[in-house]
């Protein structure tokens, strides 16, 4: 169980028996398009509001995840989820549809791994047989809540990031076939004083670095143990920063492949997404859509997903506060050893 200061070791090997991802048009236009279960061609998804569209993403991802896991809704015991909206409404409405006991969590864009870590903990401890972990985000709901109306013509700086429209969900089970969750390292809130909400990659990089180092300290592992270490949404500004900080602290990151979901989900040079992707959906769709498939196929033996979250609110940055950030890491392996 507890290993070192802030890491959970899952001896009972919770299994990811089924995952699903549903995305919007921009993600469907990106390099990972083939890995998603469903691509919506329109941002509004024939819904009356952006919020309803985001909710639909979560509902569909949950439904598909259950299908892919081959279990009935009645077998599912808990749903752990969250999103970026105020009072995590997308999670609550999706949970209403799902009709399963729900634990709502908030970790901004780190919610994907926060919910997976908690779901794995529940399964590992025997508190549950089947738990669904999921999260979602929508470009337009995030723009509306955190920035400006979607059609407002404001020029974004090159450090800005583009919120992913997408939802990812995964069924964590006590037994079954699939990738195994080995460890989860829960992050501390780190704030190095970055205040610019258009530069969240730089704000979040130190949180990712702190969690990655804590993970190695707690588990005794090194970067070499992972085929891939992937951060959530640091994008083209934050990801090189995180790498520089890690190398400076003597973590041999060159021994592994170090990537970022925000740079994988879009073709950053071609698509107009400034520095890259962000949002709860970013690490969720890349991990549950793309990476788990690679792990299941054996192309990647062991990965560490470090989902990063900027815990600001529209209120806090208007009041001139800096951006508190967090990162949660989950180690997933092919399970065949």
């Amino acid at each position: 169980m507890l290993m070192g200061k802030q890491t959970w070791k899952f001896e009972n090997r919770p299994v990811l028996i089924g995952a699903a991802t549903v995305v919007g048009p921009d993600e469907g236009d990106g390099p990972l398009a083939a890995d998603f279960d469903l691509v919506h061609p329109e941002l509004d998804m024939q819904q009356k509001s952006w919020e309803k569209a985001e909710r639909l993403l979560m509902e569909q991802a949950s439904e598909f995840a259950l299908n892919n896991a081959g279990i009935e809704k009645e077998q599912l015991q808990f749903y752990v989820g969250g999103d970026l909206m105020n009072q995590i409404i997308s999670n609550s409405f999706a949970a209403r549809t799902l009709g399963v006991p729900n634990i709502g969590v908030f970790g901004a864009c780190s919610t994907s791994m926060e919910s997976l870590a908690l779901a794995s903990l529940m399964v590992n401890s025997g508190a549950s047989q089947y738990v669904l972990a999921g999260t979602c985000s929508h470009n337009c709901t995030a723009e509306k809540q955190f920035r400006y109306p979607t059609e407002y013509g404001a020029q974004k700086p090159p450090t800005a990031q583009y919120t992913v429209t997408g939802a990812g969900a995964v069924v964590v089970a006590a037994t079954g076939e699939g990738p195994v969750v080995e460890y989860a390292t829960i992050g501390k809130v780190i704030d190095l004083g970055i205040k610019d909400p258009f530069n969240m990659g730089a704000a979040m990089a130190p949180a990712a670095v702190d969690t990655i180092q804590a993970h190695f300290n707690d588990t005794g592992r090194t970067p070499k143990d992972y085929d891939l270490i992937v951060t959530g949404d640091l994008a083209s500004v934050g990801h090189p920063l995180a790498k520089e900080l890690l190398l400076r602290d003597g973590v041999p990151m060159d021994d592994t492949t170090f990537k970022d979901c925000g740079l994988m989900v879009y073709d950053v040079d071609r698509q107009k997404v400034q520095a890259g992707g962000s949002g709860c959906g970013c690490s969720a769709v890349v991990t549950y859509g793309h990476l788990l498939k690679k792990v299941a196929k054996g192309e990647l033996k062991r990965i560490l997903v470090v989902a990063t979250g900027a815990l600001l609110s529209p209120l806090s940055f208007q009041q001139g506060e800096s951006i508190p950030c967090i990162a949660h890491a989950v180690a997933i392996s092919g399970g065949k050893e």
């Binding site: 400006y148 109306p149 059609e151 407002y152 013509g153 020029q155 530069n199 730089a202 520089e244 506060e321």
Partner: protein
């Protein structure tokens, strides 16, 4: 007191310097050029519309400005509704923000966005979300300039017309 009154720790300061180094610079010169081109283009279009009102609709130059502004606002609202204005703006920057079309975009985009919260609290309440400060400080600035003008030209007091 809020945290912006607090001094940053040495670790924070060091990181901020490092982060600054990694931050891609805004292409200010190119942005200025684009703003000049697009801003100028919008003004040329405005001028052309005004000329049309003068030559074909019998307005004099002063009276033609009101319908001209109305047409520009209409065009901006149409482009906003079609989801095009924000894409132009990402390229044009201040060029599409400063002219009256930019102002129309702030109001119409907010009105469209918050339509889902109802006509009164959504459209009515939030339409001025971005435009509100412009109006407030515009009126305050006009008032101050007006007072200064009056002090410098006291003979105009009560001049009317």
């Amino acid at each position: 007191m809020s945290s912006n009154d607090k001094k940053f720790t040495p670790v924070q300061q060091e990181y901020q310097t490092l982060a600054k180094k990694h931050e891609p610079k805004r292409p200010v010169l190119i942005n200025c050029l684009k703003a000049f081109l697009v801003g100028g283009l919008i003004c040329i279009i405005g001028q052309a519309i005004q000329e049309m009102f003068v030559h074909w609709a019998g307005f004099d130059e002063k009276k033609a400005s009101n319908p001209t502004v109305a047409v520009l606002i209409f065009l901006s609202v149409v482009l906003t509704s079609l989801g095009v204005y924000d894409k132009i703006a990402q390229w044009a920057g201040a060029g599409s923000a400063v002219p009256v079309t930019g102002f129309a975009n702030t109001m119409s985009s907010a009105a469209i966005e918050h339509r889902s919260e109802g006509l009164v609290l959504g459209v009515g309440g939030k339409m001025f979300k971005i435009a509100g400060p412009v109006i407030v400080f515009g009126v305050v600035a006009a008032f101050v300039v007006g007072i200064v003008h009056l002090i410098l030209n006291p003979h105009e007091l009560g001049g009317g017309s």
